[in-house]
């Protein structure tokens, strides 16, 4: 991958390479006899927006918590910035911002005071506080007590606190929870802009495929603790291949005939399905069947969308 030039908050240039920022090996978390996370090998490259996708209870939050050292893995290793988390936790966390599960806040303090708490811990200048509040558009509400904030505002404050030190790695667990559609759009655009504006690598989790599809450059799909797919978003999209579906009055005879003629039909739901067919092949199949008095009642083109692929991978047929 060609190095990309970006700017950090202070405008200084730096280069990003394609090295792994987050790397886990055999990461496992067991509760009782159950593996909540099972041998997950996560690879997040520098400068990318990695979408960690999975249904509710798939093990996303547990995995992210292990990356931050909030819970201890039962097995496996975590490397962040090429350093072992168990050996260099403070140095890693200094360069990492996070928002895990629900936003964290002191309700009796104002938004600004909450930011000051993080500022003291992170030891960053006032400029960062102003900038982070401006980014999440909370500057006009900063003097209001957080207990009076709406859920969306609390979520924005959580994001601002995670952004405060403009870290190299930003881990966001379901960051659009509680936001209205306009807010979701804003946060999405914000997240998309962070790698190029501030040189951040973003690892965000969601159970919403549409959200990940619009933001992520890479994706990891987890279900029941197992990482089912990991790769570039483009490779996932490439799986959304087109199929030709054909319905006849006698599918069994039609299938036998077409196999003899060198085609590869698959019986699926009372229809014959074909992959990678040219237009001429479709015409030839139709001609063959009609010439043998097998009447064709439907010829349809079916394209698998990402949702179909996701459901196929996770085995979930319900709404997520």
């Amino acid at each position: 991958m060609k190095p990309r030039e970006t700017k950090n908050l202070n405008g200084a240039d730096f280069r990003m390479s394609a090295s792994d920022i987050v790397q886990t090996q055999n990461l496992t978390k067991t509760y009782g006899d159950m593996n909540r996370v099972n041998k997950v090998d996560l690879h997040v490259e520098e400068g990318e927006i990695y979408g960690f996708l999975g249904p509710n209870g798939a093990g996303k939050t547990t995995t992210l918590k292990m990356l931050l050292g909030l819970i201890k893995p039962s097995q496996g290793t975590v490397k962040i910035f090429g350093e072992s988390l168990s050996k260099n936790r403070p140095s890693i966390l200094k360069r990492t911002g996070s928002l895990i599960e629900s936003p964290s806040y002191y309700g009796h303090l104002t938004g600004l005071e909450n930011m000051r708490v993080m500022q003291r811990l992170r030891n960053v200048p006032d400029q960062n506080v102003d900038e982070a509040l401006r980014i999440v558009r909370l500057e006009n509400h900063k003097n209001k007590k957080v207990e009076q904030y709406s859920l969306g505002m609390k979520q924005r404050l959580g994001i601002a606190m995670a952004l405060l030190a403009f870290p190299k790695l930003l881990i966001l667990d379901e960051p659009t929870n509680g936001l209205d559609p306009a807010g979701i759009g804003e946060i999405r655009e914000l997240i998309k802009s962070l790698p190029s504006r501030y040189g951040m690598t973003i690892l965000l989790s969601s159970h919403l495929l549409s959200e990940i599809e619009q933001i992520a450059t890479s994706v990891g799909i987890i279900s029941e603790g197992n990482l089912l797919f990991q790769g570039r978003m483009s490779s996932l999209r490439a799986k959304s291949r087109t199929a030709i579906s054909l319905k006849t009055f006698d599918n069994v005879t039609a299938e036998r005939l077409l196999i003899n003629q060198g085609f590869s039909p698959i019986q699926s739901g009372g229809r014959l399905e074909f992959h990678n067919l040219e237009d001429t092949d479709v015409a030839e199949i139709n001609r063959l069947l009609v010439s043998r008095d097998i009447l064709v009642t439907r010829i349809e083109e079916r394209k698998k969308n990402l949702e179909d692929i996701f459901l196929e991978l996770t085995g979930k047929e319900r709404s997520l």
Binding site: G69, L70, R89, I100, E101, Y106, V117, L121, V146
Partner: protein, 250 residues
Amino acid sequence: MINTIGLEYFKIRRKKIWIMITFFIAAEILWAFMSTSMSIARNPDHAVWESVIFSISSMNGLFMPIISAIVVSRICDMEHKGATWKMLVATNVSRSRLYAAKYICTNSLLLYGILAQTVLMITFGMIKDFPGGPPLYLLTRFIGGTMLTTLAVTALQQWISMAIKNQAFALCLGMLGGFIGMTAGMFPSIARHMFIWSYYLELSPVTFLYAESSSTYMEQPMGLGIVVAALIMTFLFYIAGNIHVSRQEI
């Protein structure tokens, strides 16, 4: 570390913990001064500095465990309520440092309460015109003994308040401690020494000798064994709590 302690003070703004301590101490002092005044009215020989020091020490057995439980609970509960503990732990500041900062912050607030008691005792003695000036030695021992017991009590309370989200447990423990502290004088010494809450009286510089005809206040020699026991309990409660909370999964 100074920064982390400063952060604890910053976080408790608007919590009115100072005011709450002041009200509790005021109620305790009022009660103690009324009973001392009545005692003096019945027996003018009790108009001595020792009487008020003993009265406050015995009242502390009831009040201090409860005040400590409430203060610790208020300081720890804000981390549970807003789920901020995970946010703090996800920064590069160690859990042990955050735990220590809370402990120091709590005890500095309670030290304020103990010092307030001392100042009010001196004021009461001067108003009542007790013989001699304020007994600095006894008052210093009172501050030291009360603070040492408080250090152990808060170590135990912080452990419970941080480890268990539901603060009802911590507050119940405080109330149980108050009950034990109040009734400690009725237990045999071996039983008394097992409960940290009875140490407010054990480490008091003054004791009260009951006799059939007359009873008197007298200076209680400082028991090195009791001091060591309180120190050991402080150390054990603090270390156990720190290790437990630091290893707890969030």
